[in-house]
């Protein structure tokens, strides 16, 4: 019975006019906003924490950014040259400076793919202190050496969690952005998904993989003591302004303590999220009222039909369900379109963000998010359909037949 009513109400919505579809724009916008936001949020979190999350308070990070604020992609980012390290290391109070290439990567194993990111490990005498700083320990296999080529060390989760259908083992070959690499070691579990999900390779390999041997994504500056951090920060900024030929206030780079970087990004993120959620809520309410209006119109237009159905034995509850479900379907269709828009939007924005220099940002619209937003939009439709459906159910058959 319920299935039949579902079919009948689905048939009902196919006969709608364009006008009633247009009233659903609010649903499109609201759902699209939520889906793209949630989809991007996860990607942003990964990006931010993987850049800065694991460094101690006695370090600074240097990144290139587009000058000033503005829409992403507005100005091309002038990347950091890899000759900067030597110069930074000569600053008073600096212990070492590591260049890092941090790029998103498509990891493939056992015919399954997974978005992840590659982090480069500095070569030569920097290697040891870098490993100490990140507190990297090996669980199986070994860490990288200078002589390694096309070899990688993977985070712990690839060998323990069910990601590729079977665990990755030392000695196996994986594809990174389509290039073959041999896994030589698995890291100890850290509990931080940044380290546990990372791919480590030698700097030279990373440069070749990303076709770039002159620039780096991130410079980590290790300062001799925490007390010296503010002063070193100032000096590094001075150096970079000179090197890159920019004036005070027009910097196209950022020198930050990891904590500070996280904090400011989180604040911006929170403000954006709040704004989008408010917009989404307003759109959804407007969309819901649009659905209600559409349904009232539908009930009026189909008064005679309601009378006929009652005359041939439809009970009030069936008429109610018919319009209630139909309203849900309108919400669902709005939700499908909105989810599609949100999916494209989050991937589009992530793409733009990557163009603007935030290289690690990946949108991830999970099946759960898709299912959740579809279920939500169906429920929204039904909620706003209750009153019109009640009106339909309560019609007197004789009067309704009169039309």
């Amino acid at each position: 019975m319920l299935v039949d009513l579902l079919k009948l109400s689905w048939a009902g919505i196919k006969h709608r006019r364009l006008r009633s579809w247009l009233t659903m724009i609010g649903i499109f916008i609201g759902i699209a906003a939520v889906v793209s936001l949630v989809g991007l949020g996860e990607g942003l979190r990964v990006a931010i924490t993987s850049q800065f999350g694991f460094l101690g308070t006695d370090s600074l990070t240097v990144t290139a950014v587009s000058p000033g604020f503005g829409p992403p992609g507005q100005g091309a980012v002038n990347p950091l040259k890899d000759d900067l390290m030597k110069k930074i290391e000569s600053i008073q109070g600096v212990n070492t400076a590591y260049a890092r290439i941090v790029e998103s990567a498509l990891l493939e194993y056992n015919d399954n793919q997974r978005m992840s990111y590659v982090g480069s490990v500095p070569e030569g005498h920097d290697r040891k202190s870098f490993e100490t700083m990140l507190n990297l320990n090996i669980e199986t296999g070994r860490l990288l050496r200078d002589s390694d080529k096309a070899k990688v060390v993977l985070g712990n989760r690839y060998s323990t969690e069910d990601i590729f259908g079977k665990p990755v083992e030392v000695g196996k070959e994986v594809l990174i952005n389509g290039e073959p690499f041999i896994v030589i070691g698995i890291l100890e579990k850290k509990g931080s998904f940044i380290v546990d999900g990372s791919i480590l390779m030698n700097e030279q390999d990373a440069k070749e993989l990303y076709n770039d041997d002159k620039t780096v994504d991130l410079i980590i500056v290790k300062v001799e003591s925490e007390a010296l951090v503010p002063q070193v920060q100032e000096n590094v900024e001075k150096l970079l302004r000179k090197e890159r030929g920019v004036k005070v206030g027009e910097e196209d780079f950022q020198v930050q303590t990891p904590a500070k970087a996280l904090e400011s990004l989180n604040q911006t993120l929170f403000a954006i999220q709040l704004f989008v959620y408010i917009i989404a809520t307003i759109s959804l309410v407007v969309g819901g009222i649009g659905i209600m209006n559409t349904m009232y119109t539908a009930v009026l237009e189909r008064t005679r039909e309601i009378g006929i159905m009652k005359a041939i034995g439809a009970r009030n509850s069936m008429i109610f369900l018919l319009f209630f479900l139909e309203s849900g379907f309108i919400g669902l269709v709005g939700g499908i379109i909105g989810t599609g828009l949100g999916f494209s939007l989050s991937h589009g924005l992530a793409f733009l963000a990557r163009q603007a220099g935030f290289r690690l940002i990946q949108a991830s619209v999970s099946p759960l998010l898709i299912f959740g937003s579809l279920a939500f939009s169906f429920s929204l439709g039904t909620i706003f359909g209750v009153l019109p459906a009640l009106r339909a159910a309560k019609m007197q058959p004789v009067e309704a037949l009169r039309g």
């Binding site: 006929i308 159905m309 439809a314 009030n316 004789v398």
Partner: protein, 229 residues
Amino acid sequence: MKKSIIKLVKVWKTYKMGDVEVHALRGLDLEVMQGEFLAIQGPSGSGKSTAMNLVGCLDIPTKGTIFLDTHDISKLTESNLAQIRGRKIGFIFQQFNLINTLTSMENVMLPMMFQGFSEEKRRKRAIELLELVSLGDRLDHKPKELSGGQQQRVAIARALAVDPDVILADEPTGNLDSKTGDSVMDFLNKLNKEGKTIVMVTHDDELAQKAGRIVYLKDGQVITKEDRK
């Protein structure tokens, strides 16, 4: 002795239009016997349709009692009435009253759906019935794609869908030319011979003569044939 299937006793139906009360029925007594073919005639506004709606459990009286197989149904709720008419009564209307967005098949299947028939059974019976009214080749046509006579035949098939005891037809030939009207009438006669109780409102004296019994209404009451003049 024939048994009464629907009986209206001193039934009043009053509509309030602002301060004015319109009495569509004034103490109407009407008994429909099982298996008969009853024609109702009378001038426009005499209360024929109102009476039909009460006989068909589509409406409840303002005053008076209605018995269906000896059960008093005049005080039942709309949902209970819907259940009764869904099982026991098939309607045929002057304006056909098919659902325009559904095909012939779907229209005929609808009453069976409301009664919870299985999909398979609904399909099978709908095809049988549409073939019975010679529309076996119009199963997937929408009402707009059918002639008036064809639409009325779909409506007849729909009225027969749940195999009801009583068929109520309010001017079933009113929107049809006389030839098509005759064939609808012949069909109703055939159904009556097969045991269905039929009540039909008609303005057409010739058609009424083909029914088993004629009742005349005037001003919401039954009058005798002699009073008619």
